[in-house]
């Protein structure tokens, strides 16, 4: 009933047909160092960048930054630091005590330091939010210029749940003072290889 009445009210009241604009992406093109810009932007939103060259060094690099992490979930085949394993049967509430989560990221966006991850990469949806600290592993060659490119890259995915993540959770709701660590992860480190 309501569906029909809303749709017919729209039909009656909507303006004359306006066509969709053509989008010329050339306008937004810039010749920038993608890795450098990405790193700068991620740091400006409170994230950390660790650049390294040999994938074998990954675990040592992570351990150096998070020496006290006890309960670790790794969704990356490159890391062997996991102290517990998860599957799609895992009850999300049981992840409450996780200290550190390690996830492979698919795309980095240089203009805003955001990284695209989807539940293919982390299996249990609450994982990157409920963990205390979050580590993402991103290949330098997967950094693109801007959001238009990023959406183009992810356009062929099977759509379930995914997000652009830019930095650790934060709030400035008390007198505009920026506080890192609101309801989601309190830190984010992107390991660039």
């Amino acid at each position: 009933m309501s569906r029909e009445s809303i749709l017919s009210a729209i039909k009656k009241n909507k303006p004359e047909q306006v066509s969709l604009p053509e989008i010329d992406l050339g306008i937004f093109h810039e010749d920038v160092d993608l890795v450098e810009t990405f790193s700068k932007n991620l740091e400006s939103v409170g994230g950390r960048i660790v650049s390294f060259n040999r994938i074998e060094d990954l675990d040592a690099e992570i351990k150096k930054r998070y020496p006290n992490a006890k309960h670790i979930v790794s969704c990356s085949s490159e890391s062997n630091l996991a102290t517990m394993s998860i599957s799609n049967e895992t009850e999300p509430h049981s992840l409450e005590c996780i200290d550190l989560v390690i996830i492979d990221a698919q795309v980095g966006v240089s203009e805003n330091g955001a990284v695209w991850i989807s539940d293919n990469d982390f299996i249990v949806r609450v994982l990157p939010f409920i963990t205390n600290d979050l580590v993402l592993i991103l290949s330098k060659k997967d950094i693109c210029l801007h959001m238009h490119e990023a959406y183009n890259i992810i356009s062929k995915r099977y759509r379930t749940f995914g997000l652009f993540l830019s930095g650790p959770s934060k709030t400035a709701d008390i007198e505009q003072c920026l506080v890192i660590g609101a309801q989601g992860a309190v830190s984010l480190t992107v390991f660039l290889i």
């Binding site: 729209i10 749940f161 993540l165 003072c177 506080v179």
Partner: protein
């Protein structure tokens, strides 16, 4: 009470007003800085505006397309013509699932529908999980800004509030401490919640998915822990294609807070195994606004709050003075559409300086629409007798050069010779907090004539 009267109350505490004014101006400056670093920023605004115009002209088709695609992914779609129907739908979903505890992330629509009190009366606990919203919820106040809900509160006030409700120790308003205590408090609520309610920033017709943007991660914490996700959206949240998100997400956070993007931009396309996802599509006066030629583009608003941060009136009168769900310039266009009489003073809460239109990421001609509402309101709503008479007299004087010359001369004479107590008397509202300008000897006309000869 009119906006002006409410603003007067806010201005009783001058120090606080100054802080409020400057804090928001600071955010406006951050917006400028962020905008200026983006190559093609103005083109982004043009595209966003054009896409939204296309959306309005095809809104019914896009909604149907969205519904079909969402349903294919196992999402339940509901339609609500008004606030009451929306609230009933939410309540029924909760009843069916025996859900008693609800966590909610920011959603101006549920605020507009007064969902919280409705659910509370029905024995359901609703916790707002955005920190700013939790603060105003504990204070039993509405948000005063759509992006910064507790911008009107000092940290000391938050301290006292948290002591009372969360059992914190006095900290002289230490934001770090108070935020970490809120984090613990809210974690507990997330873990116990049966259902999560979120708003919708964008709904994509092409994919049937929705995008929800937060900085705190509260929407995701709620949704991914609870069994049921209910998302409420106004009919105008639709965009045609996923690639258009590239345009809107580049604009939204930069316009709102000067961040390059929100921390979390979550794309929900399909519920996880064993969970339910519902989307409620709400009209509540929007189709009516769609039919108003001069005002329909107000539906293009993406709720960034930039027009509030830049508005000289909003910054000095505070969000509560508008007595409307959406305060500030954009709210002053939207609210009269829902109740012209109640909100008749809002379009006058503007200097018509146009700064709101300049910063609007979807290029809504906000100040022109405020002017348009004034034309309607002065005809349809009874105006104060003083204002009416004064404007009538002014009209006559300005339309007659002899009268204008005479009144100009007398005004200059009086300003020069009468004591301040008379000039700034009760009837001169300008003189309440300011002096009138100093009078020079000649008016422009005299000066011009002299110059010629």
């Amino acid at each position: 009470m009119s906006h002006a009267k409410e603003a007067e109350l806010f201005n009783n505490d001058e120090a606080k007003v100054n802080w409020h004014d400057q804090a928001l101006w600071f955010v406006r400056n951050k917006r400028d800085k962020a905008a200026h670093t983006v190559k093609g920023w103005e083109e982004l605004r043009n595209l966003a505006s054009a896409i939204k115009a296309n959306v309005l002209s095809n809104l019914d088709e896009y909604l149907v397309e969205f519904e079909e695609n969402a349903q294919k992914n196992g999402i339940h779609i509901h339609w609500a013509t008004d606030a009451e129907e929306h609230n009933k739908i939410v309540h029924n979903i909760l009843l069916k699932n025996n859900a008693k505890k609800v966590v909610k992330s920011k959603s101006m629509l549920t605020e507009e529908c007064h969902l919280n009190p409705y659910l509370e009366v029905n024995g359901i606990e609703v916790i707002d999980t955005d920190l700013g919203e939790r603060i105003v919820q504990l204070a039993k106040e509405p948000p005063s800004h759509i992006v910064l809900p507790a911008i009107h509160k000092t940290k000391e006030e938050v301290d006292v509030l948290f002591q009372k409700h969360l059992g914190t120790i006095p900290s002289e308003g230490n934001p770090q401490y108070l935020t970490s205590e809120a984090r613990k408090h809210l974690r507990n609520k997330f873990l116990k919640a049966d259902a999560a309610i979120t708003g919708v920033n964008f709904a994509v017709a092409e994919t049937g998915g929705i995008v929800v943007c937060t900085n705190e991660g509260n929407a995701d914490m709620g949704v991914h822990l609870a069994k049921i996700h209910i998302a409420s959206m106004g009919i105008e949240k639709i965009i045609p294609k996923e690639k258009h998100l590239g345009i809107f997400l580049r604009l939204l956070a930069r316009s709102a807070t000067g961040q390059p993007i929100t921390t979390y931009s979550s794309h929900f396309n399909k519920p996880s195994e064993g969970k339910e996802m519902h989307i409620i599509i709400v009209d509540n006066g929007r189709t009516e606004q769609l039919g108003r030629e001069h005002f329909r583009s107000s539906l293009n608003c993406i709720r960034c709050g930039a027009c509030m941060n830049t508005c000289p009136i909003y910054r000095r009168s505070g969000g509560h003075s508008y007595k409307a769900t959406i305060p500030g310039p954009i709210g002053s266009i939207l609210s009269p559409g829902t109740d012209l009489k109640k909100h008749s003073s809002l379009p006058f809460a503007s200097t018509l300086c146009g700064s709101c239109s300049d910063v609007c990421p979807v290029k809504i001609n906000i100040h022109e629409q405020l002017y348009q509402w004034r034309q309607i309101i002065t005809k349809d709503v009874k105006q104060p007798i003083v204002k009416k008479t004064v404007l009538k007299m002014t009209g006559r004087v300005l339309g007659n050069s002899k009268l204008y010359g005479f009144f100009g001369k007398s005004a200059r004479f009086m300003l020069k010779h009468l004591p301040k107590s008379v000039i700034n008397s009760q009837t001169n509202t300008w003189g309440k907090a300011r002096d009138l300008p100093k009078v020079e000897n000649d008016n422009f006309e005299d000066w011009y004539k002299k110059r010629k000869s």
